[in-house]
Amino acid sequence: MRRGDERCIFTIVFEPMSDFLSPAESAALWLSLQVSAVAVAAALPFAFLTALLLSRQRFFGAGLVDTAVHLPLVLPPVAVGYLLLVVFGGRGALGVWLWSTLGIRFVFSWTGAALASGLITFPLQVRAIRQALDASDAGLTAAARTLGAGRWDRLVNITVPLALPGIVSGAITAFAASLGEFGAIITFVSNIPGETQTLPLAIYAALQSPGGEVAAARLCALSIGLAIVFVAAANLAAKRIWR
């Protein structure tokens, strides 16, 4: 550690990592965190709406929606990556349209990795939020109505706060799972160091190169540490909020 620098808590915690990890490896770590954060944040509103729909509404085709939501959990991630390539790839209909009209491109980009991660971990978020919604008393929403709260008022002040433990624990679980996503990312956006090479992809790359076992072991240890921290955080969140 260098002395005499202006140091904040961030550099104190993370600077030693630069001694531990190579620049390419820390790039993979940061990219993983970035991809997962964006994936979870972008999927959260959709996950909440889906959970709300499945928990509070009875409609024709609810079972179908439920099944569709769970597909990414049970499909081989490689298949999900391939399907993403078909839809959002350079020759996919949606991919072509997004690129020509909005200038958005997912393939070979970290945003594509985030899209793949968000999709794979979507069911985890929906399940956690739905569980919290199912457990919270619908009578409370009815009570809020009689007290003068309209639709959005109830959503913001009753439904969301009551589902908050589920939202937080779902988001953390999805984030942790997203850090480990491999198949969908490598299939959809390939393994480009600094752009799409997240931690698992870096481990894979290390194992492919001769003498890379030590680097792979280091990254594995890092992954295990991250997983433990986030799973513990998710459990804590589910327990602590409003209880």
Partner: protein
């Protein structure tokens, strides 16, 4: 305050066909569980849409199938549910403020402190709802409802989840709401003692239909009403005349005098008195050496045989009373309408202060 309810709904084998209009300040919806009481409350509150019907509170139409349906959040009716339904993510103050903030007419500081004081909520404001006892939860739910300044308060068996001791703790608060705040209420209950204490008017429901309706005074002495619902007994108002040296308080009513164990109320106060039909014995001659404090001279108005017992409707001054005796006693005494008898009162229940 008028409440007009007409609704029809059919769900499987259960058919609801209810129609009533009341003008009382406190109306009780009385009936056994499964009679459809909660459905009526839900329909009035707008939480449930009947297949057909019309609901109006104080002349304001809230439901008129199919052309009008005011959503619950704009009905200006507050509901107190059996299970209180306090918001667990807010403290007591947060719960109380919830309805107040959204009210069309906001209670001012004076009214707020009056309600808080009346319900004894001052010490609870910072408490979390899960730390409250059952009785405290009921009081907070009541306060939360009142702070929305509703046109009418709908109470859906608010005491049913409480044990007898808690119920006795909350009832006086409800009486204060009725008496001091003059809050129009629809009170749903299957407990006659609650209804007799609170209500001016009673609507009796059974299996989805209105089987009887009338003022509390008339309905409970109506020997021709549907048997068993509600149980008979006179309910009337009497004024406290004096507290005697012998430990009794003397009450005057339109028909005579009643002596009851010392009351806390000052002379001149009106109290509501209940005489259960089972607590009235009949004698053909005035009994003298007797332990009962009250013997009322009455005239028989009607004798109704109902199974193994007989309900005898009596007139005492301008007040109607009912005595329930055995068929054998009625036959032995040869009771008949217009006959003069003496009613020996075994017990008097003083329910509450009257207006």
């Amino acid at each position: 305050m008028s409440l007009e309810v007409a609704l029809k709904h059919r769900l499987g084998s259960f058919a609801l066909d209810i129609e009533f209009v009341t003008h009382g300040q406190v109306t009780a919806l009385f009936g056994p569980s499964g009679a459809g009481k909660s459905s009526v409350v839900a329909a009035i509150a707008g939480l449930w849409r009947p297949q057909a019907g019309r609901i109006a509170v104080a002349g304001r139409v809230l439901t008129e199938v199919p052309k009008l349906f005011v959503p619950p959040e704009r009905r200006r009716l507050a509901v107190v549910f059996q299970d209180a339904r306090l918001f667990p993510h807010m403290d007591v103050e947060g719960n109380l403020r919830f309805g107040w903030r959204r009210a069309a007419v906001k209670a001012d500081a004076g009214e707020i402190s009056r309600i808080v004081e009346l319900l004894g909520l001052g010490a609870l404001l910072k408490r979390r709802t899960r730390d409250l006892s059952g009785g405290e939860k009921s009081r907070v739910a009541l306060g939360r409802a009142l702070l929305t300044t509703p046109d009418m308060l709908l109470l859906d068996e608010p005491l049913a989840a409480l044990d007898a001791a808690r119920r006795a703790e909350i009832l006086p608060y409800l009486e204060k709401l009725a008496r001091e705040l003059k809050m129009p209420m629809l009170y749903v209950s299957h407990q006659l003692d609650e209804v007799a204490r609170l209500a001016d008017e009673i609507v009796v429901l059974r299996e989805g239909h209105v089987t009887a309706q009338g003022s509390t005074f008339e309905l409970l002495t109506d020997v021709d009403a549907v048997a068993g619902v509600p149980p008979l007994g006179a309910v009337f108002d009497a004024s406290v005349v004096a507290h005697q040296a012998d430990g009794l308080s003397r009450l005057a009513f339109d028909g005579g005098v009643l002596f009851v164990p010392a009351l806390p109320q000052a002379p001149g106060t009106w109290v509501r008195v209940r005489l259960r039909a089972e607590d009235l014995m009949l004698a053909l001659e005035e009994p003298h050496a007797i332990s009962a404090n009250n013997v009322l001279a009455c005239t028989i108005r009607a004798v109704r045989f109902a199974g193994d017992h007989v309900d005898v409707q009596l007139v005492c001054g301008a007040t109607l009373l009912v005595s329930r005796i055995t068929g054998a006693s009625a036959a032995r005494l040869g009771l008949a309408p217009a006959q003069a008898v003496y009613a020996v009162v075994k017990a008097v229940t003083v329910a509450r202060e009257a207006e």
